[in-house]
Structure formats: structure tokens, C-alpha cells
């Protein structure tokens, strides 16, 4: 009996110290980020990919492609995005916003010539953005732990799953008829997105004394406000 007790105590203490070690290893300053150690490693990887490849590409794009042309390209991707947003609004039972997004898509695809011009904004139909993660959020699904995705950046368990759904449902992949077009179109979309973030870079630099911590708080704050609206 005594031996059993002793063994149990030893086992528990080993387990406890093991757990403590694990917690320390992944120890976090924020309860929403239990996997901070791993997340930080992926964050570091993403930052170096951005610094060496993506940001220089985006800067070159901004420098060499005329502003008007870039605007048309942004509008084109944004127009396909409106179609997705319309579906998400409908899933959130917000039919008024859904109709607005459909209107934007129809007007911009026709009068705006395949979406290269955002005529709808000029008519006063404002742009909105919704994704699967936000839709899940409006149904009360909580974000779950913070998750930094390789290449895709800050996310959470809920939003990461949403992201996969969004990627598969992206109309860009259904209108691209060959594999090559798909690759080129998606690459252009990534560069376009990154180039538009260049202007926010100084603001983020100024907000961030610890880039990882600043990005994480910004992510949660921004997602929360997107779901709320």
C-alpha cells in the first residue's frame, strides 16, 4: 500500500514537472496564445520570407507598375472577393449587405468591365469584406488559440479552418482555366495584397516594440471588431 502511494506520488510529481516544463517551454504572456514558442518560430520564419522575397517583390511591383494599372488589378481581385463576401453575408443572414455585395459584383463585372473598375463605389455602394472565420464568429464560435500559419501569417484555430474553406472556394481558382494561369493569378494576388500593405508598414513599425506581441494583439482586436460589425 505504502509502495503504491509512493509510486503514485513520484508519478504525479514527474507528470507535474513534465507539464510544468512543457508549459514553461510554450509559456506565454497571453492566455490566448498557449503555443507561443511554436508560433514565435513560425512568425520568425514568415518575417524572413517576407524580408527576402515578398517585400522586395511588392516594392518592385509598386515601383514599376503604374498606379492606375495597379488599381485595376486590385479592383479585379476585390470584385471576386465581393462575390465571396455576398455568400458570407447571406450565411450570416444579413441579406441587405448580401444584396449590396451582389450588386457591386454585377455592376463592376459589367459596367466596370470584368471588375477592373470599381464603378459601384462611385455609385455609393460601399465595399465590405467578410470571410468564413467571421461567419463562424457571428454564430458564436470562439476563435480558439492563436495560431501563426506558415506563409499566411497570424490566425487562430477558427480562422485558420475558415481560411482553408476560403481558399478552396475562391472563385479565382474556378475561372483560371489552366494550372499556369492559376499559379500566375494567385501569385499576382499575393503581390498585390502585399504591395497595398506597404503604406501601413510605417504605422505598424511605430506600433510595435515587440513585433510578435504587437501583431498578436492587433490580430485579436481587429478580428473582434470585424465580427462585431
Amino acid at each position: 500500500m505504502k509502495i503504491y502511494c509512493l509510486v503514485t506520488i513520484i508519478l504525479i510529481s514527474i507528470l507535474a514537472s513534465g507539464c510544468a516544463g512543457l508549459l514553461r517551454h510554450e509559456g506565454s504572456s497571453d492566455p490566448r496564445d498557449p503555443w507561443e514558442g511554436t508560433n514565435r518560430a513560425i512568425f520568425k520564419f514568415n518575417e524572413s520570407v517576407d524580408k527576402t522575397i515578398l517585400k522586395p517583390l511588392a516594392q518592385g511591383y509598386e515601383k514599376n507598375v503604374p498606379q492606375k494599372m495597379r488599381m485595376h488589378i486590385t479592383n479585379f481581385f476585390s470584385n471576386l472577393g465581393d462575390l465571396m463576401t455576398a455568400i458570407q453575408h447571406a450565411l450570416q443572414l444579413d441579406f441587405r449587405s448580401s444584396t449590396e455585395s451582389v450588386t457591386r459584383f454585377l455592376v463592376n463585372s459589367t459596367v466596370g468591365i470584368l471588375g477592373f473598375n470599381d464603378v459601384a463605389s462611385k455609385f455609393g455602394v460601399a465595399k465590405t469584406d467578410e470571410d468564413t472565420g467571421q461567419t463562424l464568429g457571428t454564430y458564436g464560435v470562439s476563435s480558439g488559440p492563436y495560431l501563426v500559419l506558415p506563409l499566411f501569417g497570424p490566425s487562430s484555430v477558427r480562422d485558420g479552418l475558415g481560411r482553408i474553406v476560403d481558399l478552396f472556394a475562391d472563385p479565382l481558382n474556378s475561372i483560371a482555366n489552366s494550372k499556369e494561369t492559376k499559379v500566375v493569378a494567385n501569385a499576382l494576388k499575393v503581390v498585390d495584397t502585399r504591395a497595398r500593405l506597404l503604406s501601413a508598414e510605417q504605422a505598424f513599425d511605430a506600433l510595435a516594440f515587440d513585433r510578435y506581441v504587437a501583431m498578436r494583439s492587433a490580430y485579436f482586436a481587429i478580428r473582434e471588431s470585424q465580427i462585431e460589425d
Binding site: K127, S199, A206, F209, A221
Partner: protein, 205 residues
């Protein structure tokens, strides 16, 4: 009857006086954002983010409606009380520069921006309010910008603002508290100052 009339007249004039004296917080935001946008539209070097001109604009238009000491003290956190007067004034100096650099890069969007003030929702407690606005630039989803305001002796003053859901002072408080606990107040002043220099050299290149 006469007394009653007199009282009503008196009360009426008092309440009239009160409304003239204290503009509503929404009106303060609405007039100041419009003034700033007009200023940016009329001065091209402002729109291009020239730091000297932005600095002047901030002094002239923005500082008067900020409770900047409160902003800085909230960002620094509880250690603010233990800071000396000269540390406090240095903190305010570097923090002001940091905020300037945070926003000067976005000023080029202000030209096409439209600001919509959202009607206040629910009961706002008298001396502390949140004013919500939506700033829209054609072709982009409107950006929510909200202001925490406080009634002071000189009228309504802003002490925190929220862009896209992120409260500015809160953002800094979390990070500053880490720096203060490891390097003290002087360490924080130095760290902010270094950051400012770094940002300025980047924006010049």
C-alpha cells in the same frame, strides 16, 4: 404664477448657456476631422507626409483637443506616478513624436477620405464617452475609427483612439510595461527615442 414663469425663464437660459458652452463630443470630432481634411487638401506637402508640416498641423489642430498627459500616463501605466517631472516631460515629448510617426504615413489617404460620425448607441455615462466614426476611402472597406473622450474644464478631450479595433494607448501599455519592468522609465524613454530615430531615417530614405 409670476415666480413660476421667472423660474422657467431662468432655467431655460441656464440650459441654453450650458449647451452653448459645451459642444457635444460628436460635434467636436466632426468639426475637427473636417478641418484637418480640408487643411490636407489645401496643402500638398501635408498630403505627401512631410514631417515638418505634419508637426505644425498637429500642434495647431490636434494637440488642443487631446488630453495628452492622460494619454501618455495611461500608456506608461502605473509607473507613471513614480516618474520625476523631467521624466514625465521627456516621456510626453518622445511619445508625441512616436504618435506622429504612427500616423504620418497614412495621411495621403486623408484627401479622398469621407468621415461618417455614427450616432451614439445606448447610454453614455456623462463625462466619459466613446465617439464612433467610419472613415471610407473609395474601393476599400470603411475603417472604423473610434475615440475615447473625457469632459475636462476646457471641454471634451480625446485620450485614446481606436483604428480597426485596435486601441492605441492600450497597444502601447502592454508593450511599455514590459520595457519599464526590465529597463525602468529612463530605459523606456531611450527605447521610444531610438524607435523614433529609426522610423525617421526609414521614412527619409
Amino acid at each position: 404664477m409670476l415666480i413660476k414663469l421667472l423660474i422657467t425663464m431662468l432655467l431655460g437660459s441656464v440650459s441654453q448657456f450650458a449647451t452653448a458652452e459645451t459642444a457635444k463630443p460628436e460635434d467636436v470630432i466632426s468639426s475637427i476631422t473636417q478641418e484637418i481634411i480640408n487643411e490636407i487638401k489645401s496643402k500638398p506637402d501635408l498630403a505627401s507626409g512631410n514631417l515638418g508640416s505634419v508637426n505644425q498641423l498637429v500642434d495647431k489642430k490636434v494637440m488642443p483637443i487631446l488630453d495628452f498627459e492622460k494619454m501618455t500616463s495611461l500608456a506608461v501605466g502605473k509607473e507613471w506616478r513614480s516618474a520625476t517631472e523631467s521624466q514625465k516631460s521627456n516621456l510626453m515629448k518622445v511619445f508625441r513624436q512616436l504618435l506622429l510617426l504612427t500616423y504620418s504615413g497614412s495621411i495621403k489617404f486623408a484627401e479622398q477620405a469621407k468621415v461618417q460620425i455614427l450616432p451614439p448607441r445606448g447610454k453614455q455615462n456623462g463625462k466619459n464617452v466613446v465617439v464612433k466614426t467610419r472613415v471610407s476611402v473609395p474601393g476599400r472597406q470603411a475603417v472604423p475609427i473610434n475615440y475615447r473622450m473625457k469632459m475636462t474644464e476646457d471641454g471634451w478631450k480625446i485620450y485614446d483612439l481606436n483604428v480597426l479595433g485596435l486601441w492605441l494607448v492600450e497597444n502601447y501599455r502592454v508593450q511599455f510595461s514590459q520595457i519599464v519592468s526590465s529597463k525602468g522609465i529612463d530605459g523606456l524613454i531611450k527605447e521610444i527615442d531610438d524607435k523614433n530615430r529609426n522610423l525617421m531615417s526609414k521614412s527619409n530614405s
